[in-house]
Assembly symmetry: C2
Homo-oligomer: 439 residues x 2
Amino acid sequence: MNIILLSGGSGKRLWPLSNEIRSKQFIKIFQKEDGLYESMVQRMYRQIRRVNADATVTVAASRTQVSSIRNQLGSKALISIEPCRRDTFPAIVLASAYLADVEGTDPEESVVVCPVDPYVSEDYFGMLNQLGELAQKGEANLVLMGIKPTYPSEKYGYIIPEGTGEISRVSAFREKPDAETAEAYIARGALWNGGVFAYKLNYILQKAHSLIDFTDYHDLFAKYETLPRISFDCAVAEQEKQIQVMRFAGEWKDLGTWNTLTEAMEETCIGDVRMDETCSNVHVLNEIGIPILAMGLKDVVISASPDGILVSDKEQSSYMKPYVDSIDRQAMFAEKSWGSFRVLDVEPESMTIKVTLNPGHRMNYHSHRNRDEVWTVISGTGRTVVDEMEQSVHPGDVITMQAGCRHTIIAVTELKLIEVQLGKEISVDDKEKFPFEFE
Amino acid sequence: MNIILLSGGSGKRLWPLSNEIRSKQFIKIFQKEDGLYESMVQRMYRQIRRVNADATVTVAASRTQVSSIRNQLGSKALISIEPCRRDTFPAIVLASAYLADVEGTDPEESVVVCPVDPYVSEDYFGMLNQLGELAQKGEANLVLMGIKPTYPSEKYGYIIPEGTGEISRVSAFREKPDAETAEAYIARGALWNGGVFAYKLNYILQKAHSLIDFTDYHDLFAKYETLPRISFDCAVAEQEKQIQVMRFAGEWKDLGTWNTLTEAMEETCIGDVRMDETCSNVHVLNEIGIPILAMGLKDVVISASPDGILVSDKEQSSYMKPYVDSIDRQAMFAEKSWGSFRVLDVEPESMTIKVTLNPGHRMNYHSHRNRDEVWTVISGTGRTVVDEMEQSVHPGDVITMQAGCRHTIIAVTELKLIEVQLGKEISVDDKEKFPFEFE
């Protein structure tokens, strides 16, 4: 079976743990049985693998998310890279064309599409298999998962089924209603539309060719920016007559705000946190290296990352977007395909960064026009290449690089270094990459 | 006139802005007319100077506070250094002996003693002068300031005056009563004991010699550790028959907890802070380089320093001590006589620090047994001395120092550097100082 995982946008409502370059699905907040933490994408991928070890999983993601996906899933998952954001229909078509034209998937095979970010119980994954099998049978062109509502939500779309059975034809779709209308829908057996569905690969490719002028995956990729922003529901689901819905009554939580996200947390505290016994319904997520003490609070979420610190009433936190938009600064932490970096200090004419390289990985071979750099290796071993000169490095070694010089570092073991950047115009854009021929 | 400013202890109830090495009196939270911030000790010193430009001010402080006092007051104030903490009677005797034996103060001159940490209006300083003049007149051996109570506090000691005039003989002292008793005291005209009093220098020296066996200041300093811990009230005030109290009805606030401290703040936010309009009675003090967003909170104080982050109901914050005691870690920020440092990163076998040297200042000439160090100058100019070799330094210069090598840096302009420490046993105690002969 083929599964396309839709990796969503940046999730500003989960600031400061998510930002422009670190989306909410990569935050490690779910504790596993072994005590370690995993992110939404890691949890979803692990759960899929446990139930369906043979599934081909393709993550549909923006270019900026590729480093985080490689960092968190390794090279196991396929990635369909979206050159820019164009809503779910173009994203699903691109990933489907990728499966057909790059991976050579049989057009008669079924594909299950699901978002990467809900918090779900294990039976959800059995249901994904059933959706795929139902699509394969071909009784309908499109098979949706309908989630049994737990309350008359105003945030979700509703699917109105024709009957009350486990599997039913779809009578209609309804967009986010008010609570009263939602209650009436639910009384008629309506289900939440969680954006989970299955089809035969061929079906969506034909649909795509009828709506978009393209030859194959590579052509589609090249003209991706010219595609209209349109959702899969609008472009396909709401037009389709041959459509079924399968009822899902297991656990399903949308984790888009701090209020819902903290509900899904196993523990109240992550990281170095002290909380006194007068706190109630308080969650603290601490990703920075200094302790947090919480006392006498009620219904509050505290979240600290290198980008900032949020202290908010849980309900109120859903209104954070305009405030977060007003915080205009570079991301202070980022995961890269080769490891991660964290900004330690910013001065008008210098910046100090801690760089961690994973074993066997290296940075791009690159140079900067307007800044000198100094590396001090603090742990691990590896080798540097500076203007074609190779050198093995160990803790305590110092490498100085003038502006214009080409440089990289390759980690043998995990390697950490302190990088001091010096110059009048320090910018992430001041970077020229070169081919690396020193493997 | 002579004023002895008693600089108190570490003030753990104001964590994370105060800690073992940074006492509450050195936190810069009071905004001056010019928009800059000053600390309790700077504010108190400035206010004293404004009312009495000629007063000799001696700060009685522990050894660990000397760097901060020099950093904040420069060399203007005298300092009586307590070799260890021994409560107010030994501290006052030591400072008085310092005035007599080191500064050569006439024993007939009056001395006014006051704590460094209350938040007071300007008329308080006129009252200090009056106390000194009254002591000089010699109608009584000891003249106290009695603060007109604003509520029946259970936290303060009370002075019961004989009469109701501005100046009166003292009838009795009463220690922290319950609220009901406090109300009865206040009905009888009782005043708070704020620890402010005046005497002739000779009086306290005679008293000291009758209770402690010592010859002069230097002898007392040498045996300071053997002195009993006893308060001035117990040892002197409560025994004295010839004692007066002068009524003070101006503003006086004890700033010992976050609840009282935030009441004295001019603004609700210090540092990089966003607060939404649903917050009420919220104060945020942000001393770290990342933004804080506060939403939907009520009666909360948020305080962030390199040592940690407090988020607390204001009332509840007064119970923080056991939690703060459980946070066992080195201070991440400190003011030194020559500037300041901040810990940026801690790893098992390395530590990265940002050092700021004030113009014209230098570190001790020193070496470390168990760690190598690397300096990268990020701003300013100066010169280094490494194993007797002098070198002038500028931004971008890197200085590497092996364990055992003697080194220092002298700032010409303000100079900032990144110091990477490398070794298996990094400790603040691993430091040997040497005489510096390269001025």
